[in-house]
Symmetry: C2
Subunit: 316 residues, 2 copies
Amino acid sequence: MPEVCLRKIQSHFIGGAQRCVQDLPIQHREMVRNGGQRALDMNGSYAVGQMYAMEYRLARPRSALPVLLWHGGGMTGAQWESTPDGREGWLWRLLQAGHDVVVCDAVERGRAGWAMFPEIYAEAPVFRSAQEAWRLFRIGHAAPGGYGAPFAGQRFPSQCFDELVKQMVPRWIGHEAMAAAAYDALLQRFGPCVVMGHSQGGGFAAHAACRQPQLVRAVIGIEPTGMPAPHAGPQPAAAIAHLAVWGDHFEHSPQWQTYRAQTDAYWQGLARAGGRADVLDLPAAGLRGNSHFCMLDTNGDEVLQRVLDWLKDSTQ
Amino acid sequence: MPEVCLRKIQSHFIGGAQRCVQDLPIQHREMVRNGGQRALDMNGSYAVGQMYAMEYRLARPRSALPVLLWHGGGMTGAQWESTPDGREGWLWRLLQAGHDVVVCDAVERGRAGWAMFPEIYAEAPVFRSAQEAWRLFRIGHAAPGGYGAPFAGQRFPSQCFDELVKQMVPRWIGHEAMAAAAYDALLQRFGPCVVMGHSQGGGFAAHAACRQPQLVRAVIGIEPTGMPAPHAGPQPAAAIAHLAVWGDHFEHSPQWQTYRAQTDAYWQGLARAGGRADVLDLPAAGLRGNSHFCMLDTNGDEVLQRVLDWLKDSTQ
């Protein structure tokens, strides 16, 4: 396990603006243990719309392109840092492979923080239960009140599923424009770059590549969702190499068949415009049994190697 | 700026348990952009009470003791990773100094995630406005609706204060027992260790050292708050070296004089029991002008060097 030598580890808060809240009642609370009550006046200004980015710079990178890691919906950047069964995550593998890496928490997720509702955010967040995650992440069969049997040949370490559940965070619906503005600011800071996005993060990556094609050299969507509708005219991101990576067990999920068709349509539009829009269908490529989270699956290192091979080929 | 060679970067979710929520209404929402509405059933199980810990292991540590970094109230571990004016944070400096480091997000903060209320958490969180932070962090004078003048000689990069505001996250009052349980699990995983806690995190560190003295070699409280009341009988943490670090500008804050007196009383109890309970009063030591966040101040590297000198002396 070769060591990784870095010249910088530093986080950043990117984008956002301040918003003012007024007319909240003054509370009196003990804010410090044994410290006595004090007035708690929450009126004032708050930072809203910023995202978090943790920058890892190698002492001797072997690629000029940093890889920006964008997590999926209801997750944070932690999903790239380790696996539920305790192996190092793709962050470490990418550093070992010679890439600078930026691990991101989108607006409102994880260290990016979130703002009060309904005073700043219009509505309450939504939450994903462990049982919904088991089903939506294509780990196994549904069962009332718990987890059903894992799918046959499942590569996700399903006995450790509850470790993944600990990573799940609330999210808001309808904040796409706010998230996109922060991602744009992020690209302006770290581009040109490769964006690797998982699930919702893959869709964010494809949209961002359309808005700022000069700052993105490749979009790697790991089971990406929420793709742009195929453009009628010119494809703004057609000059950027795109890769979609798909796991297994789609036959169990009509929902995922629908989401995947969205990406297929957008990829076809890129290809028609002369772009490179590739698909790594893992079962077809001989890697069977992957879940929605191939970066956490027991064969995750093999998957990443295929992705890195593609990246090398497509950005040279 | 010497490079840092690591053998591991890996995060962990520590502690917690699952809690079940039922009888929530089913919503129908578009969860994926352009993906059509689907049923959103939030009933089910949720992880509650876990914390987040990012582990950095040096290839060749020069100390056997990892340093665990515990942030203050309303903050996350990001406060150790960079400064508002863009310098590397104490995470990087500690790695350069030869310590393994574990950067933590307490229960309910940052990547640790948070649970719905009132179904799981009993009540709503509290939020800290930028203006309250300016005052409570002892940056400068209060002014209606904004920031007043920075205190004379202020070492916090006050022109970049809004960058710190971006890091602030909601917090809950009354979750001390839940946070403590996760910190205990953390110590069992990473101890024996040094715990460096800022503000609320410093109080958490002192309490944790009482509960698990065999796993803590030193407690470093950076402007710590919420200390244990002085014990009547034996001091459970008296065998552990304690250091409190205080900045400047206390004359402007009766609140901070009160909080500091709490630590003074606890430190005196440790000393009476024969323990080592030291104080690094920065102005008295010739370092003037520090705010509540000396790790972010422009002389933060000098402050850290004093702390490391103490650590070397007290743990040998």
